[in-house]
């Protein structure tokens, strides 16, 4: 089976976010770019499955929509263990645009399992996975917290209200993965970093698609008010502050 992990190139999660041009664009100056954490966990799970079932999984690819500056992020994925990378050479304009580009990739080179992280840590769209499944006509499972092989069959688990749902699913399928899919991402080894030098990184041109949304303006969250500590015994003071200061009761 062939697995495709779809990735976003996002600012390091500790980045101090700034905007430029009347808050109309993100200031990328000095930003360190990383694999979107959920996508990195999806890739890690794919690698774990391949390590445990080498006869079953022949290849793990990663795909990313972005310009040439995103290639270090793809090569990091190759260093961690992906077999090959695919970059769609265009700016990721919005969720639909990205999903449409990835759908074109899937149409041109079939995969059995497509994994997407539940959201990207930059725009938090949570939309690409579902849209991609629809555009590519794939079975889809959302909020997947476990992906395993049991007796040669793939078994998915999903978090549902008050419990867990176990699914069997026909390939090809797309799974949107979330917390629980695996514990922590892999650190690339020296051998992996060296091997990444010669792994294929295919660049494909974008298909003609239009973004469906337009970013109008960004704004940073307001400054958090200072925290007031109240003695647990002093319920009167708590009620007083909630009533007179916070005005919520």
């Amino acid at each position: 089976m062939k697995i495709l992990v779809c990735m976003s190139n996002v600012p390091d999660t500790t980045t101090k976010i700034r905007f430029t041009g009347d808050n109309k664009s993100f200031d990328a100056g000095g930003v360190q770019w990383i694999i979107n954490p959920w996508d990195e966990l999806a890739l890690t799970r794919a690698l774990e499955l391949k390590d445990a079932n080498p006869a079953l999984f022949e290849n793990i690819s990663v795909a990313l929509v972005g310009n040439a500056s995103t290639e270090p992020t793809i090569r990091k994925a190759l260093a961690i263990g992906a077999d090959n990378g695919i970059r769609v050479n265009t700016e990721p304009a919005d969720s639909y645009y990205v999903a449409a580009q990835l759908a074109a990739v899937i149409r041109s080179q079939p995969f059995d399992i497509i994994l997407c992280g539940i959201d990207s840590s930059d725009y938090n769209g949570s939309a690409v996975g579902g849209m991609l499944a629809e555009l590519a006509g794939l079975n889809v499972a959302s909020s997947v917290s476990s992906l395993d092989v049991e007796n040669g069959s793939l078994v998915l688990k999903r978090e549902i209200d008050g419990g867990t749902e176990t699914l069997g699913i026909q390939t090809p399928f797309l799974a949107v993965v979330q917390k629980g899919i695996t514990k922590e991402p892999r650190i690339p080894s020296m051998r992996g970093i060296m091997a990444a030098r010669t792994k294929p990184l295919q660049v494909v041109e974008a298909t003609r698609e239009e973004a469906l949304t337009e970013f109008v303006t960004y704004e940073l969250p307001g400054v958090k008010a200072a925290c007031k500590m109240i003695d647990p015994e002093n319920v009167k003071e708590l009620v007083n502050l909630l009533h007179n200061e916070a005005k919520v009761i």
């Binding site: 270090p72 090569r75 990091k76 260093a79 922590e184 650190i187 690339p188 080894s189 020296m190 051998r191 970093i193 060296m194 030098r197």
Partner: protein, 380 residues
Amino acid sequence: MNFEFTEEQIMIQQAARDFAQRELIHDVIERDTKAIFPEAHIKKLAELGFLGMMVDPKYDGGGMDTISYVLAMEEISKIDASVSVIMSVNNSLVCYGIEKWGTEEQKEKYLKPLARGEKIGAFLLSEPEAGSDATHQRTTAVDMGDHYLVNGTKNWITNANSASTYILIAQTNPELKHKGINAFLVDKNSPGISLGPHEDKMGMRSSDTHSVMFNDVKVPKENRIGADGFGFSFAMKILEGGRIGIASQALGIASGAMELAIKYSKERKTFGTEICNHQAIAFKLADMAVKVENARNLCLKAAWMKDNGGNYSLYGSMAKQYAADIAMEVTTEAVQIHGGYGYVKEYHVERLMREAKLTQIYEGTSEVQKIVISRSILKD
């Protein structure tokens, strides 16, 4: 002139940072307090390829350059210098020595498992009465025709217990003085080798340091490294490279302490404001930043010279002397900025201060580095 790191160098720096944050920080204080060897941590470090990261891939190494090594050593030393000294000894003393001057058979038998990190190495030069003055080796390796017979004691040996392979420096022909010294590959399990007790050190307490006693230890002839009498020159050449490793360790200790001091100074309030807003503290931080940046540049210059075939001896000594001395200064000031909190273990800076002290002493004291530097600049 280009000060930019390559994509791979940045990836290695990040990998070392992630490793230190994920695997080392959570129990570093306990291991330091109880002097516990970081066995599981070293195993993971080996799996990632950091223990033989500069060795040619044909001998199972990582094939990375010295710049990458400096970056990795800095990141790991920020969190745990006991782990980074094990990494430094294995990379720059043991693996480098065998790769550069060993025979193909020696590389096959000894270098490969060391480069994979399956085995750890130790470098046995210092003696009870010969540390900086390495020409006066009392340990003897007498040529018995079909083998060498080794007797003597080596002191302050890092990895003495955890290592499987020793590089031993010993005197074969005392009448030839330092030109009678040889270097040997010795299996730690050889009959006649015994260890002194674990040294109860001030810092880097979780690395294992012992004296090693040799009592009629037979070493096969084929285990000598290089020509007869090459041992002293071999040891000096190895230490030239080793200094880049320890300089980077000192750099990491300093930059780690500085990062903690900056963080703390933005959180701790006195007189109604964060202490970083007091000029007394802000200027200390500024001094730290300049020293750390200078040390980093010296380390990288020495590494660059080594990678590009230059004479890096002078720069390695400059890097080591400067980085070690500023590590002591920066860590002391980091404790000062933390005040009382800096003096307790929970805040890490007192440990970094104890670790910094050793970098001024081992692999050539700061004073020995000044001998090397002054001789070099006075030569012409």
